[in-house]
C-alpha cells in the first residue's frame, strides 16, 4: 500500500506495520479506515493513557465508571419508584445514579462554530442517556480569543448560537458554565460541554455486546458522508494554514435527538437491552469494536442493512461516517420487534444489522462479502506512546515578578470598573439568557451565581407518588479552570481548578462529590506541551485525592494549536456536589441591609497571574497564588456547616479580580435587589492593589444576620479557618477602606452598568 493512503488517514508508517503484523496480512481499505479512526489520538488516547491512570477512581461517594460516562450512586435515595415493579435482582440495585461527563468539541467549533458546538452538545447528551440516565442539565466551558478580532466574535456568536439551537430544542436546560477570553485561543477556540443525567441504579446500561446470537441493531438517523475523519483528521491534528476542514464537521439535528432520548429510555425500560452505545467519534467502527471488546464477544455485521441517506456509499465510508444522532444497541434474541416498535413510533430508523458472536472478531460484510475482519481487542487496544516532556524555558523568566516594578494605580475606582467590564469577569447574561435554563423545572439557583443548583427528582420520569419531585436533595454543578494559572504553573493551576470548583459548590451549600475532566492541550509531540499535560494531570490527581473525590469520566483533547498560537493548558474541571436539603441552598448576592460581612481565609500580597496584571498592566507574569489544601478544606467545611445550619445569607468565593470584584458581585448580581456594603475592617499591611485585586486562594465572603456571627465564628474556630468580620451591608454604595484610606467608593449603579453592559457592547459594536 502506498504510504500516501495511510498518511492521509492520519496513520504513520510504524502504525501501518503494526497493523500488518496484527492481521498477518495487508489490511483492506475498510480495515485500514477502521484502524485509522480507532487508533486516532481522539479515540485511542495513545499519548495520554499512561498518565490518566494517575486520576483517582474512588472517593467518598460510591463511583460507577462505565465505558462512555461515569457517575456516583446515592444509596440513601432508595427505594425509588419506577414504571415497573422491580424484580428481586433489581431490588438490590436501588439507589439513584448521577451520571455525568464533559467532552470537548474544539476543532469542529473552530471550523464551523454553530454546528461544531451544536454537535458537541448532542454528543455529550447521548453519552448520558445511552447509560440509561435522563439528561437533566448541561454546562458549557467556552474559550475564545479576544473579541476585538472579528473572527473571534464570529466564533463566539456561532458557538452560543449552536448551544442554544441544540440545547433549547432537545429540552435539557443549560444551567451553567464559564466563558473566558485570551489571545492564546485565537485560532483554536475551546468548546467543552458537560451533561448530567439521573437514573435508578438498577436501570443503568453499559456499552457492551455479549450473548451469542443476540441481535445488533442500528437506531436513529440514517448514515451519510458527513463527519468522515472527524476524529482522526480533524481532532487529532493541529490546524495548519489554509486548510479546508469544513466537510469533516457533522450537522446536528436536536429534534431527532429529543425523539431518540425518549425512545431509548423507553426501550431500556423493557429490560430487553443488553447494551447500547452512541455512534459518536469513529461512528460504526467505534461502536462495533468497542462494544464487542467490552463484552468480550465478537460481532458479525452486514452493511447492506445500514440505513443511509446517500447513494453509493463505500464500506469504508459507512464505517467512518460520523453522522449524528445514531446508536448501536445489542438486543436480546427474539425481542427485536418489541424494540423496533418503540423506535418506529418515534419516527426513527431501527434495523437489525448483525448479531453477536463469540469468536472475538468484528466481521464486516457488504452483500455477504467480508470487507473487514479484525479482532475487536486489536482495534480498541491502540498503542501506548511514552512521550518525552520538558519544562518550557520561558517559565523561568515569566515566573519572576517584582512587585516593586509594578506601578500602583492612582485611582482604584477606575481599576475596579475596568475589571468588572473585562470580558472574562463581566456578567454573562447575554449568553445564558439565550439558553433555556429552566426546562424540566429543576433549576433552583439560576445561572449567574457561583454554581448552578438543581433539585433532584426521585425518578427520571419527573415527580413521584409522594408528591413534589420526591426528594429534598439537590445537586450543584460547576465548571472551572483558570488557564492563565495553568500556563504559568500547570501543576498548581490544575490543583486550583479543582479547589475552585469545590469552593463554588460549597458556596451554594453543596458537598463536592465527583469530577469529570476535559483536558485541552497543544500538540503532545512537543515536549513542552506534553510537560504541561503531565503536570496538570498530576495536579488534578493530587487535589482530588486531598478532597477524597473521584474522577469518574473525562476526555482529552490534544493538538489545540494553530499557526497563531498554542492554547494555554486548559484542564477544565466539571464538578458536581450534593445538597442534603434543597431548602438550604445559598447564592452569592447580599440579601438584606444591615447584614454582617465576613471574610474566611487569608489575604496575601499576591499579584502573580492575576486578571489585574493582565487587564491593567498588560502583563501575564508571576507565579500562581499559593494553595494550601488544608486551609482550603478548613474554609470550605466552615462554609458548608454554616450554610447547612441556616446561618448564612450569601456566600461567594474570591476568584478573578480578587476581593474587590467579589464584593462588587455580591452587591450587584441581583438586579432587582442591589445592596451596597461598607467594608471598613481590612487590617492587612500590604499594597492596596494586592489587597483589592490580588487573587489569594481559599477565600470566601459570607453575609449573615447579626445573631449568626458568633455561631459562624465558633465553627471557623473549631475547623481552624481564618475568620474576620470585614464590614456591613447596606446603602447604595460599595465602599472599601484599608487601615489608612478609602480605596473604593462607587455607587452600585456605576458598578452595575460596567458589569452588566460590557459584553453585549463588545459583541454588538
Amino acid at each position: 500500500m502506498k504510504p500516501g493512503v495511510y498518511h492521509s488517514l492520519g496513520l504513520n508508517g510504524q502504525e501501518y506495520q503494526n497493523i500488518c503484523k496484527i492481521l498477518k496480512r495487508k489490511p483492506t481499505n475498510t480495515e485500514l479506515a477502521m484502524f485509522s479512526v480507532e487508533w486516532s489520538e481522539h479515540c485511542g488516547y495513545l499519548r495520554s493513557r499512561k498518565w490518566l491512570r494517575l486520576l483517582p477512581k474512588t472517593g467518598k461517594y460510591k463511583t460507577l465508571i462505565g465505558e462512555d460516562s461515569g457517575g456516583i450512586i446515592i444509596d440513601d435515595l432508595a427505594p425509588l419508584e419506577t414504571t415497573k415493579p422491580l424484580n428481586n435482582k433489581k431490588k438490590s440495585l436501588t439507589g439513584l445514579a448521577i451520571i455525568f461527563k464533559m467532552e470537548s468539541h474544539n476543532h469542529p467549533s473552530q471550523v464551523e462554530p454553530k454546528q461544531g458546538a451544536a454537535t458537541g452538545v448532542g454528543g455529550i447528551i447521548r453519552d448520558i442517556f445511552t447509560a440509561g440516565a435522563r439528561p437533566i442539565a448541561l454546562l458549557d466551558s467556552l474559550r475564545f480569543g479576544p473579541l476585538s478580532q472579528a473572527y473571534n466574535k464570529y466564533l463566539f456568536r456561532g458557538v452560543v448560537d449552536g448551544i442554544q439551537f441544540y440545547g433549547n430544542c432537545v429540552g435539557v436546560p443549560t444551567v451553567g458554565g464559564e466563558i473566558y477570553f485570551d489571545k492564546s485561543y485565537t485560532g483554536n477556540c475551546l468548546v467543552n460541554a458537560m451533561c448530567i443525567g439521573i437514573a435508578n441504579k438498577g436501570e443503568l446500561v453499559r456499552a457492551r455486546a455479549f450473548g451469542k446470537g443476540n441481535s445488533i441493531m442500528y437506531v436513529g438517523s440514517s448514515t451519510g458522508r458527513d463527519g468522515i475523519g472527524g476524529c482522526s483528521i480533524l481532532a487529532s491534528h493541529e490546524f495548519k494554514a489554509g486548510e479546508e476542514k469544513r466537510p469533516t464537521v457533522q450537522i446536528g439535528d436536536p429534534f431527532t435527538e429529543k425523539c431518540l432520548i425518549e425512545a431509548t429510555l423507553e426501550a431500556i425500560n423493557t429490560g430487553y437491552m443488553v447494551g447500547i452505545k452512541d455512534m459518536g467519534a469513529a461512528g460504526l467502527t467505534c461502536c462495533t469494536s468497542e462494544m464487542a471488546a467490552a463484552g468480550n464477544s465478537g460481532m458479525d455485521i452486514e452493511l447492506q442493512a445500514v440505513p443511509r441517506r446517500e447513494e453509493n456509499m463505500q464500506p469504508w465510508e459507512l464505517m467512518m461516517s460520523e453522522s449524528q444522532e445514531r446508536m448501536l444497541i445489542c438486543v436480546k434474541k427474539g425481542k427485536e420487534e418489541q424494540i423496533k416498535k418503540i423506535f418506529l413510533q418515534w419516527g426513527l430508523n431501527a434495523s437489525v444489522i448483525g448479531k453477536v458472536t463469540n469468536d472475538g472478531f468484528v466481521t464486516i460484510r457488504d452483500n455477504d462479502k467480508i470487507v473487514a475482519q479484525i479482532k475487536a481487542h486489536a482495534l480498541t487496544q491502540a498503542p501506548i506512546y511514552d512521550m518525552p516532556y520538558r519544562r518550557p524555558k520561558y517559565l523561568r523568566k515569566l515566573n519572576k515578578l517584582e512587585h516593586s516594578k509594578i506601578l500602583k494605580p492612582k485611582d482604584y475606582n477606575q481599576v475596579l470598573l475596568k475589571l468588572l467590564a473585562a470580558p472574562s469577569i463581566t456578567n454573562k447574561a447575554w449568553v445564558y439568557e439565550q439558553y433555556d435554563h429552566m426546562v424540566q423545572t429543576n433549576t433552583v439557583v439560576l445561572p449567574g451565581s457561583d454554581a448552578a443548583v438543581l433539585r433532584l427528582p426521585a425518578t427520571k420520569y419527573g415527580g413521584s407518588a409522594s408528591g413534589g419531585k420526591g426528594t429534598n436533595k439537590g445537586i450543584a454543578a460547576t465548571t472551572d479552570c483558570n488557564s492563565r494559572y495553568c500556563f504559568l504553573n500547570p501543576y498548581k493551576g490544575a490543583q486550583i481548578a479543582v479547589a475552585e470548583a469545590a469552593r463554588n459548590l460549597v458556596c451554594s451549600g453543596a458537598r463536592p462529590a465527583a469530577v469529570t475532566d476535559c483536558l485541552n492541550f497543544g500538540n503532545p509531540q512537543k515536549p513542552e506541551s506534553f510537560w504541561q499535560f503531565k503536570n496538570c494531570v498530576e495536579g488534578i490527581a493530587d487535589a482530588c485525592r486531598a478532597f477524597n473525590i473521584a474522577v469518574v469520566s473525562g476526555n482529552v483533547s490534544f493538538y489545540n494549536e494553530s499557526p497563531q498560537s498554542a492554547i494555554n493548558p486548559t484542564p477544565t474541571i466539571g464538578m458536581i456536589g450534593i445538597i442534603n436539603d434543597i431548602n438550604k441552598t445559598c447564592s452569592q448576592n447580599f440579601k438584606q441591609e444591615g447584614d454582617i460581612v465576613i471574610l474566611l481565609g487569608y489575604c496575601r500580597e499576591e499579584l502573580g497571574a492575576s486578571e489585574y496584571l493582565k487587564e491593567i498592566h498588560n502583563l501575564i507574569r508571576g507565579d500562581t497564588p499559593q494553595l494550601d489544601l488544608r486551609l482550603e478544606q478548613a474554609v470550605q467545611k466552615t462554609v458548608l456547616e454554616a450554610i447547612e445550619k441556616g446561618e448564612v445569607n450569601s456566600a461567594h468565593d474570591c476568584s478573578e479580580g480578587g476581593l474587590a470584584v467579589a464584593l462588587a458581585e455580591c452587591c450587584i448580581s441581583s438586579k432587582c435587589n442591589m445592596i451596597g456594603a461598607n467594608i471598613n475592617n481590612l487590617n492587612y499591611e500590604m499594597r492596596a492593589d494586592a489587597l483589592l485585586f490580588g487573587e489569594s486562594q481559599s477565600r470566601i465572603i459570607l453575609s449573615c444576620n447579626k445573631d449568626s456571627v458568633e455561631k459562624i465564628r465558633k465553627i471557623a474556630l473549631e475547623l481552624k479557618a481564618p475568620f474576620c468580620v470585614i464590614g456591613k451591608t447596606g446603602g447604595k454604595v460599595l465602599r472599601i477602606l484599608n487601615d489608612i484610606e478609602e480605596l473604593i467608593y462607587l455607587p452600585l449603579e456605576d458598578l452595575y452598568k460596567e458589569w452588566s453592559g460590557s459584553l453585549k457592547k463588545k459583541i454588538e459594536e
Binding site: 430544542c169 429540552g171 436536536p254 429534534f255 429529543k258 439565550q434 426546562v439 419527573g462 419531585k469 432587582c672
Partner: protein, 234 residues
Amino acid sequence: MKFGIVVFPGSNCDQDCFYVIKDVLKQSVKYIWHKETRLDGLDCVILPGGFSYGDYLRTGAIARFSPVMKFITDFARKGGAVLGICNGFQILLEAGLLPGVMLKNRNLHFICRYVYIKTENNQTRFTGLYNRGQILKIPIAHNEGNYYIDATGLKELKNNNQIVFRYCSATGEISDQFNPNGALDNIAGIINKKGNVLGMMPHPERSSEKELGSEDGYFIFKSIITWLKTKRKW
C-alpha cells in the same frame, strides 16, 4: 378533573406540565400522543411548550397537521378548555384557533428569563383566581414570541377583551422598555372570543412552586380547576 397533555414529537415541556398537574395540583392527567384520535372524558387539554417537529419550519406549522389537531379543534368548538403554552400558543395560532401570528423576537435571539405580566382580563376560566391588574412574575423561553396582528384584528381583540396578559414592569408599568420580544401592544397572552382557548408565551408550569422562585403561574391551573368545579356549563 381530567387533564390531557398533548405530546408532539419534539414537545419538551409535556413532562413539566404533567408533573405540575399530577404532583402539585393533584389532579388526574394523561398524555395524548399526537396521533391519537379520541379525547374522551377530558376536561382540559394543554398544548405544552417545546419544538414540535423540531420547528425547523415556521413554529407550529407542521404540528397543526398532526392527526390529533382535528380532534382538538372539535373539542374547542364544543367549548372544551384548551390551554396553549409557548409552542402550544404558536400551534394554536397556526391552527387558526386563535388570531394573529408569531414573529421572531425583535433581538433575533432566544430569550429565557423571568418577566412580569399584567392580568388584563380576570373574567376567564384560566384567570378567575387573579385580581384584575394583578402582576405575575413568570418566565419566558422562546425564539418566536413577537406577537403580531393587523390593526383590525387588534381592535377586535381589544373590543372583546381578548387580551389576557401583557408584559409590564415589576410595578405594572406597560411600555416598550418592558417588552422582552417586541410583541405588539406588549401582548403575552390572548383568549378566543368564546373564552375557552387561551394561548400564552410565558410558562406557568415553571412558576408553580415556591422552590423555583415564583408560584404565580400555579393559579392558571388552579383557576381552571375551580372553574370546572363550579361553573362548568357543558
